[in-house]
């Protein structure tokens, strides 16, 4: 039984020490693919957080019932069910975001982060720790995606969360909202993240 004092650490590890994007390099496809604006990054982060939280809860509840040989397919079905829910809810209530995220919504299923947490954490720990773990990891992922989206939006379109702070005809670094900008922005954010977390 993991002791109570470690829960705070358990939560914080997902945000800093084992940040899914900057440190563990999990879920890179959506991290690079949808972050052309801060709002898209936030939307993808929250969608993934929901799937991660629900699948961690279910996996940790049914972990004793699943034979270990078929555990991976079983986890995938649990995850796919929640992804389908997210897909339908977004299509019905936030069609704008649904259009923007496009193919990356069904692809949450194969996001290594979600399956990775089910396999590495929820299948071995109790319900409470699994919830904390999912929240930490999900928030770490959301922060990373929003930061990347914000950086690209500020440099690429001169706006943040669709609020424009430069004039209409100003020249911006359009490169950053194009595909190459995703790789370059993430490279420099990773350096910055490593620099700040290691000195503190």
């Amino acid at each position: 039984m993991p002791d109570k004092i470690s829960q705070k650490e358990n939560f914080l590890k997902g945000i800093i020490k084992d940040n899914p994007v900057f440190v563990m390099l999990l879920g890179m496809c959506p991290a690079l693919g949808v972050t052309s604006s801060a709002f898209n990054g936030l939307g993808m982060g929250v969608a993934t957080l929901f799937v991660l939280l629900m699948s961690n809860i279910v996996v940790s509840l049914i972990k004793t019932q699943i034979p270990s040989k078929v555990r991976i397919p079983a986890f995938i079905i649990v995850i796919a069910a929640f992804v389908t829910i997210v897909e339908m809810v977004l299509e019905a209530y936030i069609p704008f975001l649904y259009e923007q995220l496009g193919i990356f919504i069904p692809l949450i299923v194969v996001n290594c982060l979600v399956l990775g947490r089910s396999e590495a954490f929820a299948s071995k720990n109790n319900l409470y720790s699994s919830i904390i773990d999912a929240l930490g990891m999900g928030i770490g992922f959301t922060i990373a995606l929003t930061a990347l989206g914000a950086t690209r939006e500020i440099l690429g379109s001169g706006s943040i969360f669709d609020w424009r702070f430069v004039s209409e005809d100003a020249n911006t670094f359009i490169l950053f909202i194009l595909p190459p900008g995703a790789f370059i922005a993430l490279a420099y954010l990773t350096i910055l993240f490593n620099k700040t977390t290691k000195t503190s």
Binding site: L25, L26, M28, C29, P30, L32, G33, I72, P73, I76, I77, A80, A81, V83, T84, E87, M88, I103, P106, L107, V109, V110, N111, C112, L115, L175, L178, P179, P180, G181, A182, F183, I184, L186, A187, Y188, T190, I191, N194, K195
Partner: protein
């Protein structure tokens, strides 16, 4: 002619890795040697083609007629996961040398989002047919192979480069991928 356009579009203009961001995990993960990247590309070509063939038929003749379109994601991922297992078992029995070459990469492919991504994208092709969908999958896996092998060749050279401490590892790889993606951006407008 139409098929030539699909091929050029998938390999150069909308390269699956460098401009659509699918399959980034294997792209960054197994690209430290050219030989492993060739093996991975072969395995992806194999699985992606079969997976698209099966999922396309399943979608067209089972899911759509019975109005179960919303189960797409869940069925596709199950089909792909079991297909990968099956391919592994069959290869082991039928062609041991091919299994030796591709074997280690096969389990990794289940979570390669490029396979599921292409299977879903193939459903949205204009005036789609089975032949077109399968051709689309082959074209995309060639695009994947091109990006992966070029990237691996550059990374082999980078081993010897003298870099600042903070740039080593992940950041420099991402930067190289960014420059590669910039080069592929030059193809836009070609089709």
């Amino acid at each position: 002619m139409e098929y030539v356009l699909i091929l050029i579009a998938a390999v150069f203009v909308n390269n699956i890795v460098l401009s659509q961001f699918l399959g980034i995990c294997p792209f960054l993960g197994v690209s430290n040697k050219v030989s492993t990247s060739v093996g991975m590309s072969g395995a992806v070509l194999f699985v992606m083609t079969i997976a698209t063939l099966v999922t396309y038929l399943l979608h067209q003749y089972v899911l759509v007629p019975s109005g179960l379109d919303y189960l797409r994601t869940i069925t596709f991922i199950l089909v792909i996961a079991s297909l990968v297992q099956m391919v592994e078992i069959i290869l082991k029995k039928v062609s041991p040398p091919l299994y030796q070459a591709l074997g280690v990469f096969l389990p990794l492919i289940t979570t390669n989002c490029a396979v599921l991504g292409v299977a879903i994208l193939a459903l949205g092709l204009e005036s789609g047919s089975l032949l077109k969908a399968v051709f689309f999958a082959i074209a995309n896996s060639i695009g994947f192979a091109l990006a992966l092998i070029v990237f691996a060749s550059i990374r082999e050279q980078l081993e010897l480069a003298d870099l600042p401490k903070g740039m080593k590892g992940v950041p420099i790889n991402l930067l190289v991928a960014g420059l590669l993606s910039l080069a592929f951006l030059g193809f836009s407008g070609l089709v």
